[in-house]
């Protein structure tokens, strides 16, 4: 039994107004959660102790083993072996060349841009670039596969082994091995719902360049699988080799799931095909693991097969078993020469890479003092990281900038469904707002009101403070007068306080704040009240 771990299960933010809670062991229905501890600033620091994700079955705890094959469409103008446009959303069969339709005598010519993006991606995944790779034909018949084979890479892919770091809840990281990355053609699309008696074929996707990125079976939980896809997507988007748009099918995952008792060899895996969201990756792993455990504990065995994940029904179903698996008859494509790359080419590709998410994350931790979690959230998208750095520089307080962006700004953006690029508040304005708090112009509480106003009007925080007269009262004399009046008018409370009900201090503070519409400097108010009540 597995329960979703929604972010709301436990506050893990460290932003303004964050609850300071000590993490509790969350063990629900046989699932061991990570045990989290917060430091006294509200940041997650470490897991104590780390416990593996397991699923409790009738015969004990089971471990889940996950490996992924992610298909990522290369962001190129034209297809992998033809000059036809690779654009999404065209009219059916609008982007089809003679090569894509596999007309007699047509020959593939490799698109250099796709090779470049494949190599850049390999480098960004810290993986080995193979100087020699070979395109092979994967032979099978289907109506939307015009050649009767897919040109792919088989024994000699362009990218070999490597590893990437994934970010887990609480700022933990784990390294996941990359097995390989290879380039291949996409197939066309069969449309079965256009006519009661006929199927239609759309070849726009036929020949579009894909990277198939194969992980090692290193993931051990639904969250790890989801975090892997997130990180992969983040890296691809950083370097621009794939737009990562899972809804449009630019990125989709085949998820291999098996279960075993801890310490035992890998179990037989089932492959869940074409999963097109990170949430579904997580769900699919959970559901498939449960199915396999139930099956094995009921005396059955897991078949090595391809299965379909149905998110509506919350189940996986067999698509085809090993018996009717294709014999793809791979062999080197005689129309294409082996692809040979030299060091200079690889270096050139490397030189085009931007700072990657992990490097940025570590820099944010080291230079800005951010928690690993905050850093990982802020670097996930290149645009976000850029926005953050601008705000951090403008504010002079990188940690405060992180809080304002990841909690206040993201919260409002999410709620109103606005993307960061369309944010009504600029990075500079966030910097300015933090500046106003730091120099005592406004309190943190007022700042939130100002932020709301900024989100509505896009006005500069200084202008809002000015217009609305929100400047903090730090004039001790003015506050003292209010305090004196308050004490004089509330002798009963004063007596109770002096009798030991010191908790009433909060009431006094509240009254002062009420009278100043929150503009009184809370520190000054506290200090004055104490000095007058305690004497």
């Amino acid at each position: 039994m597995i329960e979703n771990w929604a972010p709301s299960d436990m506050p893990i933010c460290c932003a303004v107004g964050c609850a300071r809670e000590v993490g509790a062991q969350l063990v629900s229905l046989g699932v061991n959660r990570y045990i989290l501890a917060y430091d006294d600033e509200g940041s997650l620091r470490r897991k104590v102790p780390k416990m593996a994700y397991t699923v409790k079955g009738e015969t004990g705890d089971w471990e889940v083993v996950v490996g992924l094959e992610v298909h990522a469409q290369i962001s190129s103008q034209s297809k992998l072996f033809s000059g036809a446009s690779a654009r999404f959303g065209a009219e059916p069969n609008e982007n089809v060349s003679l090569v894509d339709a596999a007309m007699p005598g047509m020959l593939p010519v490799l698109n250099a841009e796709c090779v470049k993006q494949g190599v850049r991606t390999g480098l960004a995944l810290n993986s080995k670039v193979n100087k020699r790779s070979v395109f092979a034909r994967k032979n099978y018949f289907y109506a939307d596969l015009p050649q009767g084979y897919q040109i792919s890479q088989y024994e000699e892919p362009i990218i070999g082994e490597g590893e990437i770091e994934i970010d887990l809840e609480g700022g933990e990281t784990k390294n996941i091995g990359i097995e390989r990355l290879h380039l291949e053609q996409d197939a066309g699309k069969s449309l079965h719902d256009q006519s009661p008696t006929k199927s239609f074929i759309d070849l726009n996707r036929s020949g579009v360049a894909l990277m198939e990125i194969v992980s090692k079976p290193d993931m051990r939980s639904p969250d790890e699988a989801a975090a892997y896809v997130s990180k992969l997507r983040s890296i691809l988007r950083y370097i621009g080799s794939c737009d990562g748009n899972m809804a449009e099918g630019s990125m989709r995952a085949d998820v291999n799931v098996s279960v075993r008792k801890p310490g035992e060899p890998f179990g037989t895996r089932a492959e869940l095909k074409n999963i097109n969201s990170i949430r579904f990756v997580r769900q699919a792993v959970e559901i498939e693991a449960k199915r396999q455990i139930k099956l094995i504990e009921g005396g059955g065995t897991v078949d090595q097969e391809t299965r379909l994940f149905d998110p509506n029904k919350g189940e996986t179903r067999s698509m085809r078993s090993k018996e009717d698996a294709h014999d793809y008859r791979y062999f080197p494509d005689p129309d294409l020469l082996p692809l040979e790359l030299n060091d200079a080419y690889i270096e050139d590709c490397k030189a085009t890479l931007p700072e990657l998410p992990d490097a940025k994350k570590h820099r944010f931790i080291d230079d800005y003092g951010l928690s690993p979690y905050d850093a990982s959230v802020l670097v996930a998208e290149r645009e976000t990281a850029h926005f953050y750095e601008k705000a951090a520089k403008a504010s002079g307080d990188p940690k405060a900038a992180a809080n304002w962006i990841s909690v206040e700004l993201f919260g409002r953006l999410n709620k109103s469904g606005v993307a960061l690029v369309d944010s009504p508040i600029s990075a500079e304005q966030i910097g300015a707002l933090i500046g106003l708090i730091k120099d005592g112009t406004i309190s943190g509480k007022i700042a939130k009101d100002v932020f709301d106003e900024m989100f509505q009007s896009s006005k500069d925080p200084g202008a809002i403070v000015e217009e609305k007269g929100l400047k903090q009262i730090t004039d001790t004399g003015a506050i003292e007068a209010i305090v004196d009046t308050l004490i004089a008018e509330n002798q009963k409370q004063v007596a109770a306080y002096r009798d030991g009900k010191t908790g009433l201090l909060g009431w006094f503070v509240g009254q002062v704040m009420k009278q100043t519409q929150g503009k009184a400097n809370p520190g000054v108010v506290n200090q004055l009240l104490r000095s007058k009540l305690d004497t």
């Binding site: 007309m103 005598g105 010519v109 034909r137 015009p146 008859r329 791979y330 062999f331 005689p334 129309d335």
Partner: protein, 494 residues
């Protein structure tokens, strides 16, 4: 104005010179051939004659010439093997499955020829998908060799294959020249059977773009002509780098005709002992010895060489070529073009279409190819064949250390009757025994008509050269041709 017979007897070079001298026009020449094609239609050399197109092209050519704009093949009427896709003209590859298929594009090689001024007489017959050594596998009927055996009664003979229609047309004077394609001997063997010159250039010399693929790593276009000079001229017009074919080689096309100096003094000619096969007619061996003497007399040095892996070439070829073909022919599935025979579902439609659309020999090779690529058999067949192919190429590589060219017979026999080998695919495959090794190694090889057998049927000798050694091959072929002085005219010539 010349009489039709005289026009038909001109070689391509002679016709070119007469055209250049304004003694004849392309329209006259083309009309003579159109007439000949009609008179000798029983040879079945053409699947699709294109007389109207030919006349239009001839007129346009004469107009260009009048403007002083004449290409290397200007006004010369040729046959185009039906494996080349030709824009607006049915291109069948000899198969029922492509019946009625009219490309919207022009193959690079045919386009090069039209750009050089050539005139298309029609699409020539061929073995289905270029699979065959007899032209008996064409869906569009057998092609007859214009030569008849002296002792054979009136039994029709095969022209060889797969470029049998082109060979018959050039030999029978139904085209001044024709294109062929050669995968394992499909230019050279029919050239030998019909007494013409057939030249398969180095793999990568001519673009494969727009040629219906049989076995991609072996297919190569080349000229089929009356003599060696014609071959040099036509190859020059066909060859060239093509960015649309990744296996085409980016190297300049030399002036092949200029290579025909007639001087081969000091050239080293290798004679491989492995090409002596048991059971081959004595005439073949005799002609080979004669060829050696001719070249020796012309000043060449004869070197005995060994190509030790030759005996594995034929089985290697009959694994590699079907393997590639099984994949290349997968696109003929009834979905997008060509024949479709409906069925109850998609798989059923595939099965019906391919069963009806492909002939027996094509089905045999698709099955063999599918088998040798299958899981569990790949290593034993395909992979092993690829390794042997490397060894065969290495044999040649080592031979070039001691010789400049290699002389062998082209085929183990002269042309045979329609019924002779029809039921025995292995006997049929043996036709390629001398031509397949050069194909596997990607080397240029030419067949030159060198003599007649006891029945008066043509026999050819083959010269194999190193990669991109076309000029050397042509030079020696010219010397061989001069010495052999082959003059036989086929009985069924127009």
């Amino acid at each position: 104005m010349s009489d039709s017979n005289e026009l038909l007897s001109l070689t391509l070079a002679e016709a070119r010179d007469r055209l250049n001298a304004r003694e004849i026009t392309s329209v006259e020449l083309t009309d003579a051939y159109i007439d000949a094609m009609e008179r000798r239609s029983e040879l079945n050399a053409y699947i699709t004659p294109t007389p109207e197109k030919a006349r239009d092209m001839a007129k346009a050519s004469d107009a260009r010439r009048a403007e002083g704009d004449a290409g290397a093949m200007e006004g010369l009427p040729i046959g185009m093997k039906d494996l080349f896709c030709t824009e607006g003209v049915q291109s069948t590859a000899g198969s029922h499955i492509l019946e009625g298929f009219t490309p919207t594009y022009e193959s690079t090689v045919s386009g090069n020829l039209w750009n050089a001024g050539a005139v298309m007489l029609g699409k020539t017959n061929m073995d289905e998908f270029a699979m065959g050594s007899s032209n008996l596998t064409s869906y569009y009927g057998n092609v007859q060799n214009p030569f008849m055996a002296a002792s054979g009664g009136n039994q029709p003979l095969v022209p060889g294959g797969s470029s049998g229609g082109s060979a018959s047309a050039v030999s029978g004077r139904l085209a001044i020249a024709a294109t062929g394609t050669d995968t394992g001997g499909s230019i050279r063997q029919p050239a030998a059977f019909t007494g013409i010159v057939g030249f398969k250039p180095t793999y990568g010399r001519c673009s494969r773009w727009g040629i219906v693929a049989f076995a991609s790593s072996l297919d190569q276009a080349g000229p089929m002509t009356r003599d060696v000079r014609d071959s040099a001229i036509m190859l020059g017009a066909m060859a060239g780098f093509d960015p649309k074919d990744s296996t085409s080689v980016e190297t300049a096309v030399p002036d092949y005709e200029a290579a025909l100096t007639g001087d081969i003094r000091g050239m080293r000619i290798g004679v491989p002992k492995e090409y002596r096969v048991d059971g081959a007619p004595a005439e073949i061996d005799g002609l080979w010895k004669q060829g050696v003497d001719w070249l020796k007399d012309a000043g060449a040095k004869i070197v005995d060489i060994s190509l030790p892996h030759t005996k594995y070439a034929l089985p290697t070829y009959y694994i590699v070529a079907p393997a590639e073909a099984s994949s290349n022919l997968a696109r003929y599935d009834g979905v997008r073009f060509g024949l479709r025979v409906d069925g109850k579902d998609l798989n059923d439609m595939y099965a019906h279409t391919r069963a009806e659309g492909f002939g027996e020999e094509v089905q045999r090779r698709v099955l063999v190819g599918t088998y040798v690529l299958s899981a569990g058999y790949y290593d034993a067949y395909y992979l092993k064949a690829q390794r042997i192919r490397t060894l065969i190429a290495r044999d040649f590589q080592e031979a070039w250390g001691s010789c400049d060219l290699i002389l062998t017979p082209t085929a183990p026999s002269a042309a045979f009757g329609f019924e002779d080998k029809a039921d025995d695919p292995i006997a049929m495959y043996l036709n390629d025994v001398f031509t397949v090794p050069a194909s596997l190694a990607g080397l240029p090889a030419i067949s030159v008509p060198a003599g007649l057998d006891k029945d008066g049927l043509p026999l050819g000798l083959q010269l194999i050269g190193p990669a991109f050694g076309e000029e050397t091959v042509l030079r020696a072929a010219g010397v061989l041709e001069t010495a052999a002085d082959f003059k036989a005219t086929p009985q069924l010539a127009a």
